[in-house]
């Protein structure tokens, strides 16, 4: 069965400094991996997705993530944090071969950005 572990429940950075949100996954098959962002009182928004193409994936708002099969990781990064990046981020896996396509969410990482 697939699962997702987000290693930090809360990350705090200063504006202009790099962001690293860590995610490890467990999957029996070839996974599709996603990062979603949830701003306060707003719906979930897809940041980026990995679907077995290029291992370095670029998303919206300057975020990117690298799929590393040997490390079973899919960490989310951004070179320079902006105040508007403060939100909750979810690493998500979707697996084929048995699943009907539902997404498995990590518990989330809350990102705080200090001025």
């Amino acid at each position: 069965a697939q699962s997702v572990t987000q290693l930090d429940s809360h990350v705090s950075v200063s504006e202009g400094t790099p962001v690293l949100l860590r995610c490890n996954y467990s999957s029996s098959y070839s996974p599709s991996l996603f990062w979603y962002v949830q701003h306060p009182n707003k719906g979930l928004q897809l940041l980026l997705k990995y679907t077995s193409a290029a291992t370095l994936v670029k998303g919206i708002n300057g975020f990117e993530a690298e799929f590393k099969k040997s490390e079973t990781s899919f960490h989310l990064t951004k070179p320079s944090a902006h105040m508007s990046d403060a939100a909750e981020y979810f690493c998500v896996v979707s697996e084929w071969g048995g699943s009907q396509g539902n997404l498995i969410f990590g518990k989330g990482t809350k990102l705080s950005v200090k001025p």
Partner: protein
Amino acid sequence: GAGVSQSPSNKVTEKGKDVELRCDPISGHTALYWYRQRLGQGLEFLIYFQGNSAPDKSGLPSDRFSAERTGGSVSTLTIQRTQQEDSAVYLCASSLPPLAGYNEQFFGPGTRLTVL
């Protein structure tokens, strides 16, 4: 057109009452999902509909929970005899038919359910 819509946006009910939550998916999306998000937690999968196939109910936490999808479009999630632990945000998502391991889901704004 419009994204996924859900109603009501907020629902406060008393323990033991039944509630119905509604989801209108994006037009043309044949797949529809319900998730629950408890305070400070990630999303828990509840149920999945794909076209006319039998739904995947594997995530429903108890027999008090049920969902229907009429005409392959609008879906209603019903919680009978609500309990305080049912308090959560209930999210609906829709997608095109999941193919080749990729199924980008578009989420609605959610219904915040509070059981007193």
